[in-house]
Amino acid sequence: MTLLTVDDLVVEHRTPGRPLVRAVAGASLTVAAGEVVGLVGESGCGKSTLARAVCGLNPAASGTITFDGHPVTPLGLRRRNRALAGIQMVFQDPYASLNPRRRVGAQIADGLRTAGDTVTAPADLLERVGLPRDFAGRHPHEFSGGQRQRIAIARALAARPTMLIGDEPISALDASAQAQVARLMRDLAVESGAGLLFISHDLSVVRLIADRIAVMYLGKIVEVGRTAEVWADPRHPYTRALLGAIPAPDGAGVLPAELSGDVPDPADPPSGCRFHPRCPVAMDVCREREPTFGPVACWLHEPA
């Protein structure tokens, strides 16, 4: 059952004195209940903006986001629509997302109140994320990055989400804590039957936990597929470049393939296919027309 549908979403950032930036330029994506979708791409490709739009933190310029049959509206000063409280987010930096002046138990209790849950204690949630119960009375500064992120996850889970969103939840953590926290998020989401949209630039972690992978480039989703299939047979040249750039720990001393050039300025995207200036197999048609089909948005893989 599809829980979250993002359809042809466009999100624009306006800064005075700067040209309009289309951070998300027509992206479509679905997440089903109990499914883990990994969204990957280079920094600046718009994946975080997409996540924020799903939570209502960035307004959509066009396109729609539907959650469980309800349209997602931007957050305002008024109370958030109850139905949308089922979407909860875990942010990138646990040093910034927890309130330093409140005990972590009180912050988790906020989530419980949202869900109208009077039975569960904050300590129960700490236990679920693998932390001791008595941590509830402490303040965030007493914890390491990995522990803080677990607390942030506990807080998100307290609101009984049916859709959990992780916006680079592991990139601020130590290497050894990354895989652990990612696995924890997956287990907790799947266990409670919620969907998980996991955003990361670290492909090796996404591969570990995602059922499906969506690859994003310059505001567009260029390839979607089952994780194992995408990994074994990447079809879009960008996905190939992305996977080819991961060095293998085989001791052979092979330098990974380099993708030439930088990500173009999203305020001034190239004509035609957005990837063509960096694409090793670009054809004439790529410079002129943009591939708008899926699941692989590339002229080499045009559906018949």
Binding site: E42, S43, G44, D174, A175, S176, A177, A179, H201, L203, S204, R207, L208, A241, L242, A245, I246, P247, A248, P249, D250, G251, A252, G253, V254, L255, P256, A257, E258, L259, D262, V263
Partner: protein, 257 residues
């Protein structure tokens, strides 16, 4: 020939032993990888070489740069080595570069100090360095500020700064961890190329065994302040003898495991 030899290096901070007798040997033109999980003392080993350990750290052992022992060196003399003969590249170029100084200023300041160049010579050398690390349009780039560059370009600039005084030893602490994989590939190629062309001895600190496998010639694995295994790349990564190295390799996702 060994350029930098660390022997029986012990570091303790606040009564806690961080390093418990580390031995490493860096040779010219070779990349020596230092692996291990966080808290194993990889970064501390790198910092000890430059005398950048936190205040109150007690050290023993020997870090020999040629004939001289860096640990026993007076602070003044160490200042001439640090940034001159031994240079460092840090993890996050967003924080290791000064946000309010132009790239040119950051590239020339230590050159003028260490090498005694005048402004013109330093600028010429800075332009040459920016070209060497493949920054497009060095003439325009030199007057820009760090925020005007992407993460990969910033790390290239940080490498250029480290190379400015023609060091013999380069310590790179997780130089690609903050970068995207596609950008990482470019920076790794650059590091490898510079090591080969300039005969640098590179100590590459990283937790990523893939990165290690791509550029390192020798690999050392650290655990709890000790080097548990050292050897040529192919041997350590394909046929590890220490159970901890094996566990590290097995914990990786992939077809090989």
């Amino acid at each position: 020939m060994s350029l930098l030899a660390i022997s029986d290096l012990k570091v303790s901070i606040g009564g806690k032993e961080i390093l418990r007798g580390v031995d490493l040997d860096l040779r010219a033109g070779r990349v020596h990888g230092l692996a291990g999980e966080s808290g194993s003392g990889k970064t501390m080993t790198g910092l000890a070489v430059l005398g950048l350990l936190p205040h109150g750290a007690r050290t023993s052992g020997r870090i020999a740069l040629g004939e001289r022992d860096l640990l026993a060196m007076p602070a003044k003399e160490l200042n001439t080595v640090r940034g001159g003969e031994v240079a460092m590249v840090f993890q996050d170029p967003a924080t290791s570069l000064h946000p309010m100084l132009s790239v040119g200023r950051q590239l020339t300041e230590h050159m003028r100090h260490h090498l005694g160049l005048d402004r013109k010579q330093a600028r010429a050398r800075a332009l040459e360095l920016l070209g060497q690390v493949r920054i497009p349009g060095p003439e325009a780039a030199i007057d820009r500020y760090p925020h005007q560059f992407s993460g990969g370009m910033r790390q290239r600039i940080a490498i250029a700064i480290a190379l400015a005084c023609s060091p013999k030893v380069l310590i790179a602490d997780e130089p690609t961890t903050a970068l995207d994989v596609t950008v990482q590939a470019g920076v790794l190629r650059l590091l490898r190329g510079l090591c080969d062309d300039l005969g640098l001895a590179v100590l590459l600190v990283t937790h990523d065994l893939g990165v290690m496998s791509a550029v390192a010639d020798e690999v050392s694995v650290m655990k709890e302040g000790l080097v548990v295994e050292t050897g040529p790349r192919g041997q350590v990564l394909r046929d590890p003898t220490h159970p901890y190295t094996r566990a590290l390799l097995e914990s990786l996702p992939g077809e090989t495991s």
